[in-house]
Symmetry: D2
Subunit: 130 residues, 4 copies
């Protein structure tokens, strides 16, 4: 699934390229979009991020047009992995890639929970379909 990004002027640092920390925000934009598409749920997100990693391949400069290709690449009992590739869309240049591990979380009870079946099915289908 490809999610187009609206870059903001504040994403750039004094070198004129997108600051390294902003890529985790780009990942977040992509997974929130993917979550809504996969589940149809519109409430605040019932999961919590356990791990995040990014590898930077090329600088994103002023005027670049970026998108994130996001895919579910692993599903466990309570957690799953989303993988991301940030692409400059005019030349398909790879800007950055990475992944996050997140776990289903019951915010009221403040504890992790198994992935509900209906969501598991959607996440798993996505893995197989990738």
């Amino acid at each position: 699934m490809r999610v187009r990004l609206d870059l903001r002027y504040t994403d750039y640092d004094s070198r004129g390229h997108v600051n390294n920390a902003v890529f985790l925000t780009y990942f977040e934009i992509a997974r929130h979009r993917a979550w809504r598409v996969l589940t149809g749920l519109t409430a605040d997100f019932p999961f919590i991020v356990l791990e995040a990693a990014v590898r930077y391949h090329s600088q994103a400069r002023f005027g670049d047009r970026l998108a994130v290709d996001i895919a579910v690449t692993e599903v466990r009992t309570k957690a799953w992995v989303w993988s991301y590739r940030v692409i400059e869309t005019r030349d398909e240049r790879l800007v950055a890639e990475g992944h996050t591990v997140q776990v289903m979380f019951d915010y009221d009870a403040q504890r992790t929970i198994p992935i509900p079946d209906v969501i598991r099915t959607n996440l798993t289908t996505t893995v197989k379909g990738a």
Copy 2:
């Protein structure tokens, strides 16, 4: 009251100076510090911002050391005004100034309320003492 700022690399834009929007965050840092000092309260803040204005006087560049001078400059029934001056502290250069108007807000009831007497006293004393 002077509040020293810890500038972040992400505060700078591609021109190498602090982005204009960040000054409202600097104002926020200052008023949250001032609120805690004035009231001793540590919960989330029981007011809401109605207006904000900034005038930019000089560019804040990489390496500048900034602080905010904050003062209560008006107290009304439900609302009050905080005024701010952002200063480069090595040469007392004025970088920006502005104000915010905020109103006491009951977030549970979702409505504005009068400033409680104990807080009014503290805010008013500050105006007189300025």
Copy 3:
């Protein structure tokens, strides 16, 4: 001119509504878009913000769909005014409004300059057309 906003999860604060400082970033997104449309220029922006002001009318909550209506409302020798209305687009509710004053700036010479004629014409046409 209406500019649709892609809200980010990081725009929300712990109260679940868009932080007050973020509105200056929304204004910036709108004026950068408007500048490109008006002038066709794609380089970094040759102006600097002198003043900014916001009035907050209603809270922008999780799930709201926001856009900015932006218009040039005054043109001076070196400076001009952009006015903004942030709208929830499903019910046309007014969320915030404000303006910025910016001046043409020669970043190499580090001084303000008059608005070039070709740009002045475009800005002025926009005022009349509003």
Copy 4:
């Protein structure tokens, strides 16, 4: 080396805890401080981040007091590794940990370069001293 953080209200998301992306900014604050202490250099930073990773251990909530413990944990020809632990300082609770790999970068020539000897010595001493 321990670097105290000034948390900002905008660091919190609608769940009332520090947003996951902000931790890369906390790492950045720490490494910029560490770089200045190690090298005495005050110009913009002559390196570029290649990789970043974070593991989240506990939620950072409103009112928490955070610091980053930063250490150089590996030095290569052109690149080195900084490791980070974000700590709540009142109870020494581990909030997050991670690392970044960065490489010396000549921004004028737009290419990577070997770590200069004087900087290598400082980085290596830090590793041994850890």
